[in-house]
Amino acid sequence: MVELLAQTGLNALYAASYTALVAVGLVLIFGVMGVINFAHGELFMLGAYAIVAVYADWNLPYLVAVAVGMTFVGIVGLGMERAFFRPLRDNPLGGLVASIGFLMILQALVSMGFGVRMEHVPPVTQDVIVISEKVRLPVFRLAVILAAVVLLASLWAFLKRTRFGWALRASAQDPEAAALQGISINQTARIAMFIGAALAGVAGALTAPLISVNPHMGHSVIVTAFIVIIVGGIGSLEGAVIVAVAYAFVHTFVTTFFDGVIADIVGLLLLLVVLIVKPTGLFGSTDRA
């Protein structure tokens, strides 16, 4: 039983790592721009397809492919900001609808470019750290966990220690007051969109060798990310990280000890309870609720 608990804990850590990356990106975009980006799952998908193209098809090194994926998806995010979210800044519903339309466009483009079938991504490494007979941590999963920790720590440092980070936080707290202080709303929106999209892209790129890469893979990720950011409090980065970890642990343990369908029900029940007891989410403020 101890070994089963330990292996499940390691599984949960991995699930928490990529869930947190996706959820934090989604929160950042909402926090600064006030837009619910429904196409966030497709940005995750684009990151995975960058791995298919650069790593699997062109045989370039995996880390190069991850960097390309992260940058490419960040640039796509910049394009979304300029094309959809900026013109619709005063119309949050318009931004949401535009993002839904864009997710369909992205799915169609990827289907046309790569086909609809699952893509094969060769394993980066098959090495496994054998802790005991029944507790094993694949090296690649460990790498994903460490990469997520490094990226989230870097984001935290960026937000807390740099002028751009302060500007982002100021815009998220009160856009009008930030603008009065000379902070460019357009620039902070661009930065937030680039970082948010890049985080989704890098999550897709990191996990691509471990999951089924197909044009519709963003769907399940976005559902989980929405549960996480609603429970954590829309707009709260800390809430997104903490709830991503907690949700991943609950879901993974329930899947292991009951089954995956019950785990989904438990996740949605958590969402329901939080919405009833604290509609702003566990770490959210009333301003953005």
């Binding site: 599984n11 949960a12 289907s111 699952m118 098959q126 519709h216 399940s220 785990a263």
Partner: protein
């Protein structure tokens, strides 16, 4: 084809593949009766299956196979209906495995395209199309006889008796590896997964293999299978059964079994694109993997009892057009259904659905791809609209799928039918339990 070949790079394998495929095409044209047909004599066949989305692996490869079948038939003079040669044309509609889209697609194919027969994957999409079938009397086929009921009089399952044939794999395993005593199973919680769970439970019980745990069901939206696999192998089972999981699940589950150190037997209904699983795990890990769908380059398919025409040449053409690693469980199945439909239409002298159906079922037997078979199913589905006979047991050996044996599904059912009905009823999968 040649433009694509040179664009992608002319390799020895590609050149050889193309050579074999061209030889196959030439052989097909030579073997099949050649008649001239007027350009305006075209019979349209609907292909209503998932071409995109997670279930596309059981739709798109089938359409690809049908296009080869159509090219070969047309090259050989078409289908002789009532003394006149007709070219065959496939009209595809992507239902995305969505019942609403299946209904829209069925209506469109009948009203706008004028098709005479519609092939479906079935499952969750059949309830969408059924009202259209009831209203129009159109002949439909499904790969999933669990769609059949006494009300589905124009629905046939002439190729695949999913999931009943899965019993042959378990029976073979028990006969050849009697040391395997315990099993676990996982499945997605949907219309494909659940009847298959019931079938495997019956097969394991009939074989005297004990289930260590209840089947572990997971949400079809699952992407990370580490927790599922951790749970599955926690009791050191001799056999891990992957039920009828989609390719999108079989691949990551196998990878997780490999990474979490499982060294036992794996059995699955399908192993689509298994070369990719071998690449993600190892040849050693995949050695002995049992499933139910052969590659059609298998020499065992050249047996005189096999009714699928020129299977090796068909496989070569498929590999040449789409790549050998794109061959999947359904690549040949819809084409095999077309063989039966063509024979029925030619015998009936008509392409009208009721006439073809009557001709196909004449005498209560039919030439299934894997041998002569019976129209069967009243006991289990409430209607004898499934063509059931032998089914192959396929084992991966040296990284390649190999047919080990053909076994009779009716013979198994004659011995263990009550067990199957018991488990089907427990999962609400008998025809009178389905809503």
């Amino acid at each position: 084809m040649f433009a694509k070949m040179f664009k992608d790079g002319l390799t020895r394998r590609r050149l050889l593949g193309s050579g074999v495929a061209m030889a196959g095409s030439a052989a097909a044209a030579a073997v099949l009766p050649r008649t001239a047909f007027a350009a305006d004599k075209v019979v349209k066949i609907g292909f209503l299956a998932p071409l995109t989305g997670p279930v596309a692996a059981w739709g798109k490869p089938g359409l690809d196979g049908c296009l080869i079948w159509g090219d070969w038939i047309n090259a050989a003079g078409g289908i002789n209906i009532g003394g006149e040669a007709h070219a065959v044309e496939f009209v595809a509609y992507d239902n995305e495995y969505d019942p609403t889209k299946a209904r829209t697609g069925a209506t469109k194919l009948i009203r706008e395209d004028g098709v005479k027969f519609i092939m479906m994957l079935g499952g969750d999409t059949w309830p969408g199309a059924q009202p259209v079938a009831d209203r129009t009397g159109m002949l439909f086929s499904t790969l999933l006889p669990s769609d059949l009921s006494p009300d589905t009089t124009t629905l046939i399952a002439p190729c695949e008796v999913h999931p009943i044939y899965n019993v042959t794999g378990v029976e073979w395993l028990a006969d050849n590896m009697p040391e395997l005593k315990t099993a676990v199973m996982c499945a997605q919680d949907d219309a494909l997964g659940l009847p298959s769970v019931a079938t495997y439970l019956a097969a394991f019980e009939a074989a005297g293999i004990e289930m260590q745990d209840d089947p572990l069901l997971f949400d079809p939206a699952t992407t990370d299978f580490a927790p599922v696999v951790t749970r599955l192998i926690s009791g050191n089972p001799d056999i891990v059964c992957l039920d009828t999981c989609y390719a999108d699940y079989v691949h990551p589950i196998c990878e997780q079994l490999f990474q979490q150190g499982y060294g036992g037997q794996v059995i699955s209904c399908t192993a689509d694109f298994y070369q990719q699983i071998v690449a993600k795990t190892s040849e050693e890990f995949m050695e002995g993997f049992v499933f139910q769908f052969p590659d059609f380059d298998d020499p065992a398919l050249n047996d005189e009892n096999i009714n699928f025409r020129m299977p090796n040449e068909f496989y070569a053409e498929y590999a040449s057009r789409y790549g050998a690693d794109q061959w999947g469980a359904v690549s040949w199945e819809y084409a095999s259904i077309m063989d039966l439909w063509k024979a029925g239409a030619e015998r009936a002298g008509s392409a009208e659905p009721d006439a073809v159906l009557a001709a196909m079922k004449e005498g209560g037997t039919g030439l299934h791809a894997f041998g002569e078979a019976d129209w069967w199913g009243k006991d289990l589905f409430g209607i004898d609209n499934a063509l059931v006979g032998n089914w192959p047991i396929v084992v991966i050996e040296g990284g390649k799928a190999t047919i080990k044996e053909f076994r009779s599904i009716p013979e198994w059912y004659a011995k263990h039918g009550e067990l199957l009905k018991k488990h089907m009823a427990a999962y609400g999968q008998m025809w009178d339990q389905r809503s």
